[in-house]
């Protein structure tokens, strides 16, 4: 009986979090629409075809995909209350997330160094807004992961820690799904 009640409460928490994710998705949709409208307005500045390096972005994509995979495995071990394996897989996710973020910042820095700042053209403004917002989500996900780790260190693998880890897992999968579309619409369509 108690377990059933717990399950119902968890389902409610998931639905609440899911509603947040869907509204976040709508925000990303608005940014994608802006990008789709402005992508050809380069105003004499280089277009995506000249700026983006596809092999570099492929590596970024595969890193984020792998981190989405490890976070899923980590959630399974969290539910089994296996602290060591949970730490390994969430640790791997954290490292992969940091590498991804570092690659994105390096890409931005490279663009900035060549004078391709958001002020340069409408295309670059919409590009930096879209990809930068995704990077900001990754950053907050990493911070959230650190906070959950501190929580687990203090309280152990309680039901509430498992719920937090599961929600983080869902958030991370969501970010990977958004990245699929950034990869396709910004980088692949930009290359042809």
């Amino acid at each position: 009986m108690k377990e059933e009640l717990q399950q119902k409460n968890n389902d409610k928490t998931f639905f609440g979090f899911w509603v947040y994710l869907m509204t976040d998705l709508l925000m990303f949709a608005a940014l994608f629409a802006t990008y789709a409208v402005l992508r050809n307005n380069t105003f004499g500045a280089p277009s995506g075809k000249e700026l983006f390096s596809l092999p570099y972005v492929l590596i970024e994509t595969l890193i984020l995909l792998t981190s989405s995979f490890t976070v899923g495995i980590g959630t399974i071990y969290a539910r089994a209350k296996d602290v060591v394996k949970t730490s390994i897989f969430f640790g791997a996710t954290f490292i992969l997330g940091v590498v991804f973020l570092w690659m994105e910042v390096a890409e931005f820095a490279h663009l900035f160094a060549e004078g391709n700042t958001p002020q340069r053209s409408a295309f670059l403004s919409s590009y930096f807004t879209l990809v930068g917002t995704h990077g900001l989500h990754i950053t907050s996900g990493l911070l959230w992961m650190v906070l959950i780790f501190i929580f687990i260190l203090k309280r152990g693998m309680s039901d509430s820690s498992i719920r937090k880890l599961t929600l983080l897992g869902i958030f991370w999968h969501f970010l990977d799904i958004v990245w699929i579309f950034i990869f396709t619409i910004v980088y692949l369509l930009g290359a042809i």
Binding site: Q7, N10, D11, F14, F15, W18, V19, M22, T23, L25, L26, A29, A30, F32, A33, T34, A36, V37, L54, L58, T61, L62, L65, T66, S68, F69, G72, I73, I76, R79, T166, I170, H173, F174, D176, I177, I180, F181, F183, T184, I185, L188, L189, A191, I192
Partner: protein, 116 residues
């Protein structure tokens, strides 16, 4: 979504492998500069991305084995409707504005309107 049903590691491995294959397929199509028309290529890329979306929703977010009533799926579908209106609507409107008119067309339009 549902903790009651046993979610196995193999589900994630399968989803991961399918996602990697779909990503690489799209990547090599873009890199090898296949002889396809660019419109066909855009359609192929979008279809591959949508397949990967479904793969990740099913294998990573387990939307297929959510318990009934499927509120999560329902709300996702509603959001999808909003997204379609937002993106298709924006592109449709913005590519049909006088944005696409020639200066001559703009002059004719202005002259045809009284008070301008």
């Amino acid at each position: 979504m549902n903790e009651n049903k046993k979610i196995k590691i193999s589900t994630y491995v399968l989803g991961f492998l399918m996602s990697v294959i779909l990503t690489l397929l799209a990547y090599f199509l873009a890199v090898t500069k296949t002889s396809f028309d660019s419109f066909i290529l855009i359609v192929i890329f979008m279809v591959l991305a949508l397949i990967q979306l479904i793969v990740q929703l099913v294998f990573f977010l387990h939307m297929a084995n959510e318990s009934r009533p499927r509120w999560n799926l329902l709300f996702f579908m509603t959001t999808l409707g909003g997204i379609l209106i937002l993106i298709v609507g924006s592109i449709w409107i913005m590519y049909h504005l006088n944005y696409n008119m020639t200066p001559q067309q703009i002059n004719n339009y202005v002259e045809s309107q009284d008070g301008f």
